[in-house]
């Protein structure tokens, strides 16, 4: 009993973990146990497998080898390993962005009939940013925009267009350091080049290149993904939804979408509402089709359609273990290879859809934007046909199903605060300036079984809002807070400090705002830039009374996000275990202190959520002081 509580604070998770134990089904938590002890060299970043003279290891106790065969020391080895992870994380986000841009390109050619431009206003605004004449007809604008956006990936010189969204002072810092990304792909390639055997041996220079690569993700690939998804799939509006495993329905055909790229899952939403398919489902004895999501694909369909969220990263296996899932269709990223084994314990069909993300021996129905709806219908049909294979005696759906409000974007925050006709960030700035609001925090990132699931996210978020900090969330972190009931306006009454509560009550928002998926962290960057532009809170992002945190991180993508936040001047804390670099004291010191002088932001590693909150509050207060703001109103 106690053991299960140490694994997760979420009751639905605990309940399914008990079931898994009874049925002897292994999950990430057991696999983590089986991995113990995890290699100390790896944890410290002291193992180098880059060239074939190795693998080499540096003895952290100073007795054995202090250099790899090539002569690389602990600083070079740890920095190169870290840099490669950042490149991979940036590549994942950016390749996602590219796929969306390609869909737009196909739309312009009239080859993706199932999609339409759903946010024309945003299309025009974006076209203007890219110097496109918006008086032309829509098709021409789309064509030109798709061409220009795809060109951002292969661009070789000058800089990415979205970088101009940042405050002037920030752009000047990037320019001075020579880290204005030229092209999205180019920076990833260059970073990988520099980590090759015998190229860059200066850990500080490797970090500079890493910062540039990360910027090409945050202000490049991820931003392309967010902006275009809004245009093609519709910009989110505040929407009510439900979260946790209880959203799976006993008498319905349950289809779970999982992964990150919403282009196909958008069609799955449409197919799940198709009258003919619903009729077919009813003919098989089900009451209808119930679509639910896991991870960021869930966040995307939640933000735009209020589709329920079954859970976050560590709940992907658990959704299947409920025994009630007919199909889990996956696209890319954060999809555990273990799903195949877990699905084989039930009637659940695992279906891969992305040619880049396949499992041996798993049904693959490949997605093409040209026949998107057809593919989605085929998958839903398979789910309906699988309904009769469900073993009703093995179905255990936890009852937890919690209300949430999602769908906040930088445009929406704008409108809510100022009203639709005088949209403005002014009230937010004024709230911070007057001290009613202490500041703003971004709490984002994954789950990691090394820590009690959801505990770090929610403990941190509760402590921040208690101290009048408005919390912006994305990804699995947002889902964690949603499950604890923090994403409803009523949460302000229960958890927020007096100042934040007053604001939430005045404008009717939750104290914790769900901004979307992990590529939507780019929304935080643009929102922060607009806060600076509004005035009164300094001239650079690093002046803001703001901080970021990824309390339960595990993915390389989280590293890329952390790096673009720090490169944008934000103080950022990482929980779970620290970056695998602690074997290099120089690199650790550089990232956690030296970097601040260079770029205005720095990293911190911390394994206690209350301490994280304290560090973030201290940082916010320090920035308030530097701006000569009044003391916090209700301290």
């Amino acid at each position: 009993m106690e053991e299960i509580k140490a694994k997760s604070i979420d009751q639905a998770t605990q309940e399914i973990l008990r079931k898994a134990k009874e049925e002897n089904i292994k999950t990430a938590w057991e696999r983590l146990e089986a991995q113990q002890p995890q290699c100390g060299f790896g944890q410290l970043g002291l193992c180098c497998t880059i060239c074939n003279m190795g693998p080499c290891r540096i003895d952290p106790f100073g007795e054995g080898a202090q250099m790899g065969v090539c002569g690389a020391n602990q600083d070079t080895i740890a920095a190169r390993n870290l840099a490669r992870k950042i490149a991979a994380g940036a590549a994942a986000h950016s390749d996602h962005g590219r796929d969306v841009a390609e869909t737009l390109s196909l739309m312009a050619k009239g080859q993706a009939h199932d999609y339409a431009i759903l946010d024309i206003e945003k299309l025009k605004a974006l076209a203007e940013e890219f110097d496109i004449d918006t008086h032309r007809n829509e098709k021409e604008i789309v064509q030109e925009l798709a061409r220009k956006l795809l060109a951002e990936f292969g661009r070789q010189e000058a800089e990415l267009v979205f970088l101009t969204r940042a405050p002037k002072k920030r752009q000047a810092i990037w320019k001075k350091l020579g880290i204005l990304p030229r092209g999205i792909d180019r920076e990833i390639v260059e970073l990988l080049h520099t980590t090759n055997m015998g190229v860059d041996n200066d850990y500080r220079n490797l970090i500079t290149t890493s910062l540039c690569c990360a910027l090409s993700d945050g202000w490049g690939g991820s931003m392309v993904a967010t902006e275009l998804q809004d245009i093609i799939l519709g910009s989110p509006q505040p929407v009510r939804g439900k979260v946790n495993l209880g959203v799976l329905k006993k008498d319905y055909v349950n289809v779970v979408v999982h992964g990150h790229e919403p282009i196909l899952s958008e069609m799955a939403v449409k197919a799940s509402q198709d009258a003919e398919l619903i009729k077919l489902a009813k003919s098989k004895g089900a009451q209808g089709i119930n679509l639910a999501g896991i991870c960021c694909t869930a966040n995307e369909v939640l933000m735009r359609h209020g589709i329920p969220v079954a859970g976050n990263f560590l709940q992907q296996e658990l959704a299947i273990i409920t025994g009630a899932v007919e199909v889990m269709m996956v696209d890319a990223q954060c999809i555990m290879p273990a799903l195949k084994e877990v699905a084989s314990c039930f009637h659940t069909k695992l279906i891969t859809t992305n040619p880049k993300a396949r499992f041996p021996g798993v049904i693959h129905i490949e997605f093409h934007p040209e026949k998107a709806y057809e593919v989605a219908k085929e998958i839903i049909k398979l789910a309906i046909e699988n309904f009769s294979n469900r073993d009703k005696d093995r179905v255990d759906i936890p009852k937890q199903e919690v209300d949430l409000v999602s769908g906040f974007t930088k445009e929406i925050i704008f409108q809510i605060l100022g009203g639709r006709y005088r949209a403005s960030y002014k009230p937010l700035n004024e709230a911070i300036i007057s001290g009613r609001l202490r500041g703003v925090a971004g709490v984002v990132g994954c789950n990691n079984p090394k820590q009690t699931h959801d505990y770090f996210h929610t403990t941190l978020v509760k402590e921040l809002i208690k101290n009048d900090v408005l919390v912006l969330q994305t990804g699995c972190s947002a889902i964690a807070s949603a499950k604890q009931g923090l994403l409803i306006p009523e949460a302000a009454e229960a958890y927020a400090g007096k100042g934040l509560k007053e604001i939430c009550e005045a404008v009717g928002i939750p104290p914790v705002l769900h901004l979307g998926s992990c590529v939507d962290n780019s929304r935080i960057l643009t929102a922060a830039s607009q806060i600076i532009a509004e005035g009164g809170l300094g001239e650079d992002l690093s002046d803001l009374p703001a901080a970021g945190c990824a309390p339960e991180w595990m993915s390389e993508k989280a590293l890329a996000i952390g790096f673009y936040f720090v490169a944008s001047g934000i103080y950022t804390i990482f929980g779970a275990s620290p970056f695998p670099i602690l074997g290099s004291k120089n690199l650790t010191d550089y990232l956690t202190s030296g970097l601040e002088q260079l770029i205005g932001g720095r990293f911190e590693f911390c394994a206690d959520p209350l301490k994280m909150a304290r560090l973030m509050l201290e940082h916010i207060d320090k920035k308030r002081q530097a701006l000569n703001l009044r003391p916090v109103m209700y301290a």
Binding site: P37, C39, F41, L44
Partner: protein
């Protein structure tokens, strides 16, 4: 009486046992903090390499220990009940005679503290740290009498 045995064919030389040993004998008992301690805890076990095989080596607690005979400070005593050579670090003068006479090169001089390092089988713990740390099960902790070759 339990002894440490090794399946050398299974040892992949990852040296996890070395790290675990150093961590187990540190003040904090935790990897990241171990490296921050003023007096660095060093492993009492080393993985040595000879002709394509890895050999995790630490004190074998011989029944007729040459090191005990050689110790001029009487800092080493063979405890028959425990089946272990006990090392009184207070009495030890760091003459390295034990290091010299050990036929297995299992005693290691700590040049910083001027005191030799030797395996204490993690004293009162059920399983020595190296046994727990070995990812391949190459280190075996079992009764002497149960040994099957």
């Amino acid at each position: 009486m339990k002894q440490l045995y090794y399946k050398v064919d299974k040892c992949l030389g990852c040296k996890s046992c070395e790290i675990a040993c150093a961590v187990a004998h540190s003040l904090s008992g935790e990897l990241f903090n171990t490296l921050q301690e003023e007096v660095l805890s060093l492993p009492r076990k080393k993985v040595l390499y000879y002709k394509d095989k890895n050999y995790p080596v630490s004190c074998r607690h011989c029944k007729e220990p040459k090191c005990v005979d050689a110790c001029m400070a009487k800092a080493l005593v063979y405890d028959k009940e425990k089946g272990m050579v006990l090392h009184d670090t207070e009495r030890c003068v760091g003459c390295w005679m034990c290091v010299m006479v050990c036929p297995y090169a299992a005693i290691r001089p700590n040049l910083k503290t001027k005191i030799p390092l030797r395996c204490d089988r993690c004293n009162d713990k059920d399983n020595p740290a190296c046994v727990e740390a070995c990812p391949t099960g190459a280190i075996i902790w079992q009764e002497e009498t149960g040994l099957r070759v």
